[in-house]
Symmetry: none
Subunit: 90 residues, 4 copies
């Protein structure tokens, strides 16, 4: 029923697998903590901007636009090719 890593196998394979599982989970949890810390930092920046009289929503939009624009040039260059492909002119 289980082709996983021998958690229910005989011997001490079970223990090994359990330890491994625990290790994976703890690594994930550690990383998620770090991620949350950074997310909080971002919130602080926005709060600070707001405290300086900036309109937060607009700043968020600008950040988003700049992110889009980054990937967009490459995409726009690809559009001509895209149309050709769509028309079967590959």
């Amino acid at each position: 029923m289980n082709d996983g890593p021998d958690i229910e196998g005989g011997g001490n394979a079970k223990t090994v697998a359990a330890n491994q599982l625990r290790a994976f989970i703890e690594r994930v949890e550690r990383l998620e903590e770090e991620k949350k810390t950074i997310a909080d930092d971002i919130k602080e920046v926005y709060a600070e901007a707001k405290g300086n009289g900036f309109y937060t929503k607009a700043i968020r939009e600008l950040v988003k636009l700049r992110k889009q624009d980054a990937g967009e040039r490459a995409e726009h260059e690809a559009i001509v090719e895209l149309y050709k492909a769509a028309l079967g002119m590959a």
Copy 2:
């Protein structure tokens, strides 16, 4: 413990709430079925296009681009205002 709609309340309120709950769920299920039907129709269209020699991925991309462009003009017209707002020039 529960400020929901009297499912555990005395009298026949329980029955009423259960019927109501069932009704909501069935409405959702019915709608999800319809939605799935349409999703399948969309897949069929793509399959047909593919059968006609078109490059499906490109068509998907074009559909997406057209959708973006729709909302985008309004947005671009709003950007100047946005920058002003971001600079506190509201």
Copy 3:
């Protein structure tokens, strides 16, 4: 055997392909509109349920459960329990 819709042919094959492409795209767009309408209907149902005091998160869960096949649900649960045991989680 057919690498694209009539590109190689002379005459207005390209125009034909473009028209066909447009037709496919429009069919998809029409269907996606319908799909969105239904998605909105579903949201409305949940909103109405909420307005009647129900806990929508639980309703969503029930809808999902009812959709799942009993067998796969059991199997999934078995694995989770197995891992829990490995971690010493009651």
Copy 4:
């Protein structure tokens, strides 16, 4: 009292605001990059677990469970069970 960062003031207040705006945006962008790095690390951990034969979906579920407060988990479960009972679902 201060509706925006020094717009009303004479001189180069506008430039100051623009610089400040740029600074906020760059701080956010820097942090979002870091956040993405960590998110990628998390994906890697799951990939590695998978490579070791683990069922990642179950691991994700465990991580979520461990994060949840026991009390709210119980409450949520209680409501789901209540609704199940109302629907006659074993």
